[in-house]
């Protein structure tokens, strides 16, 4: 799998489906959860999409701002567990 493509796929998902704004300039290190940009009601959606798209299961207990606050953190988790 081309990792650049996957990362962009993840970014596009977050801006389009979670933020509802494809033009949003989401940076690799932008805080998503601790900043309130993604609210807690969307966390389950992100986990479900990651599993469907990359085959990586994120346990519900891991869905928190310590582990998944940025696109980089989320992507690193996906590549480690693939």
């Amino acid at each position: 799998m081309n990792s650049d493509t996957s990362k962009e796929q993840l970014r596009a998902y977050l801006t389009t489906e979670v933020l509802h704004d494809p033009s949003y300039p989401l940076g690799d290190g932008d805080a998503l959860i601790s900043s309130g940009l993604i609210d807690s009601f969307s966390l389950v959606d992100v986990a479900l999409w990651v599993e469907d798209t990359f085959g990586v299961h994120i346990d519900n207990s891991e869905l928190n701002s310590e582990q998944f606050d940025t696109l980089d953190q989320l992507f690193a988790y996906i590549t480690q567990h693939q």
């Binding site: 933020l19 704004d21 207990s61 701002s65």
Partner: protein, 564 residues
């Protein structure tokens, strides 16, 4: 001896010390179950710590805690000392720190709590968010879960408590809500639980499963006091765990053979859409007697979605019920019958919006509204509909819902003028709009948020829902309210939405789309649109947009729009 909340809990533990009563469920730890005797031991442990920190009979103790065991035992531990517990939410990412601090300062000034009980998980946040300069700063007590034997002083402290005394304060949702602590007596709480319990056939055999926060009346009364004072079992989880893992609720019901569960309407959609089949393996919901939809308008579509999704697991529409409730009557006003699907009243939309009449119709066209019943008033409760001059209206006329019961609040804490203003000739004015048909109460929305545009009643939530579907606008981050236009002699609709971009061109596209979608989806056009950056909107403690507070915020920016 006077019966009080804590005495009932202790009496139950003396009758059946080894019976389990409380099961705390977590996303990242094994479940923890407590027997009645263990529960009381932890309550006494919390009471001992509170007493050492200076809590005395009649004191108000504000509870801001995240750990479930600490929270539930600090609540009753406060009660054991003859003091008054009031649970408030802890700060989260969604609450703006400045507003939280302002609200807390108002609360401290008004309510003058002696203690603020917190726990090791949130004590740092609590200290940060306390106002810096404040005359009435309470003692901050960090409570840890510790079992304890009987306190030497407990009988002495309890001796002065009377059944009419304030048992707890319930601060209704909303930062401005902190100004109104609903003071409820032991007598009122027992009377509501008896009456409501009768309407749903509640018994000690029931198993209540709840993820609801305890600072809200639905969570505190139905999802906490009802099972624990009624000798039933409670399976409790944190809302923060449930929102990450909604299947926890279904698994808990299945494992404990749950029978009752209260949920706000959005949770029906959330559970239906976000739980995977693999998390429902071996789940059996057939033990359930009722899910109760309460605390926001209930939608038939949400019930259908939920019933369809969970039908393979033993659920059917007949188990989905609706309740109308408020803190001022302790909890329930009305409740639909268990065991049969909730009736929807199909009425003509234009009659409802223009003439304030709910005219039954059978049309299946666009011009109808399906309003779900909230059932008949429970025992000891009366409801009527009042017009703007406070005359009683006949059935099917829309007006303000007024209620009277044998279990009302003692008053708003330290706010006698607010208490007086809330009543008219002994009737509590709910601020909700609705009508009565065949003795059943139908609730349409809040009176104060209602817009009347060109003679049409416009419920802001309808417009906000439309706006939330526009690309670039987040559902739930829109506020719609009315601004009077004296020249036109009517109100005009105004909308504030949070958007993530500052690009003018995108803003223009969003504005255009909002106007189009709202014009197409409703009878009105929006006059004013403001697009603001994330975090701008004022929200209540439960995360809902506070319309009137946002209206005031716009007023500060645009005084010219609000002629005095």
């Amino acid at each position: 001896m006077t019966e009080t909340l804590i005495r009932r809990v202790i009496a139950l533990s003396e009758q059946e010390p080894d019976a389990a009563c409380l099961h705390l469920r977590y996303v990242d730890r094994p479940e923890r179950s407590l027997t009645r005797a263990e529960f009381v031991a932890y309550i006494r442990g919390a009471a001992r710590q509170l007493h050492e920190m200076g809590a005395r009979p009649g004191d108000l103790v504000i509870i801001v805690q995240r750990d479930l065991l600490t929270l539930v035992t600090t609540f009753f531990g406060t009660s054991l000392l003859g003091a008054i517990p009031s649970i408030l939410p802890f700060a989260t990412e969604k609450l703006d720190p400045t507003r939280y601090r302002t609200a807390m300062a108002m609360l401290l000034n008004l309510a003058r709590p002696a203690l603020l009980a917190t726990d090791t998980e949130v004590v740092e946040d609590v200290r940060t968010l306390l106002p810096e300069v404040e005359e009435h700063l309470p003692v901050v007590a960090v409570i840890e879960p510790q079992p304890s034997g009987r306190l030497e002083v407990e009988d002495h402290l309890q001796a002065g408590v009377k059944i009419e005394d304030v048992a707890l304060l319930q601060h209704s949702s909303g930062t401005t809500g902190l100004q109104k602590g609903v003071a409820l007596s032991h007598r009122a709480i027992f009377a509501q639980l008896d009456s409501y319990g009768h309407s749903i056939g509640f018994s000690p055999n029931d198993v209540v499963v709840s993820w609801l926060p305890l600072y809200h009346d639905m969570g505190l009364i139905a999802g906490f006091l009802m099972p624990l004072l009624g000798g039933a079992n409670l399976v409790l989880m944190s809302p923060f765990d449930w929102v990450r893992a909604p299947h926890l609720l279904m698994q808990a019901i299945s494992e404990h053979q749950g029978t009752l569960c209260w949920l706000p309407n959005f949770a029906y959609n959330f559970c239906s859409q976000k739980i995977r089949d693999r998390d429902l393996e071996k789940v059996d919901l057939s033990s359930m007697r009722a899910f109760v939809n309460c605390s926001e308008p209930a939608y038939a579509a949400s019930h259908r979605l939920f019933a369809d999704r969970f039908a393979p697991y033993g659920l059917d529409l007949g188990k989905l019920t609706v309740c109308y409730a408020m803190a001022e009557t302790v909890f329930a006003v009305s409740q639909t019958s268990l065991g049969m699907p909730v009736q929807a009243d199909i009425v003509d939309r234009s009659s409802l919006r223009i003439n304030n009449l709910a005219v039954p119709t059978t049309d299946s066209a666009d011009a109808v509204e399906r309003i779900l019943s909230t059932g008949q008033p429970i025992e000891g409760m009366q409801a009527q509909i009042l017009d703007t001059d406070r005359n009683t209206l006949p059935e099917r006329h829309v007006g303000e819902i007024a209620v009277k019961s044998s279990y009302m609040l003692n008053g708003y804490f330290h706010r006698p003028e607010a208490t007086e203003a809330a009543f008219y000739q002994g009737w509590y004015l709910t601020g909700d709009l609705g009508y009565i048909a065949n003795g059943e109460v139908f609730v349409l929305g809040r009176k104060k948020d209602l817009l009347i545009v060109g003679g049409r009643n416009v419920y802001p939530q309808d417009i906000e829902t439309l706006a939330g579907g526009v690309q670039g606008v987040h559902p739930g981050r829109v506020a719609v309210f009315g601004i009077a236009n004296a020249q036109a002699g009517t109100e005009e609709a105004a909308l504030v939405a949070e958007v993530d971009t500052e690009d003018d061109e995108v803003h223009n596209q969003i504005r255009a789309a909002l106007r189009k979608v709202i014009a197409n989806g409703s009878d009105i056009a929006v006059r004013h649109i403001w697009l603001m950056p994330p975090g701008w909107l004022v929200k209540t403690s439960s995360g809902k947009v506070a319309r009137s507070a946002n209206r005031e915020k716009i007023l500060e920016m645009h005084p010219e729009l609000f002629p005095s």
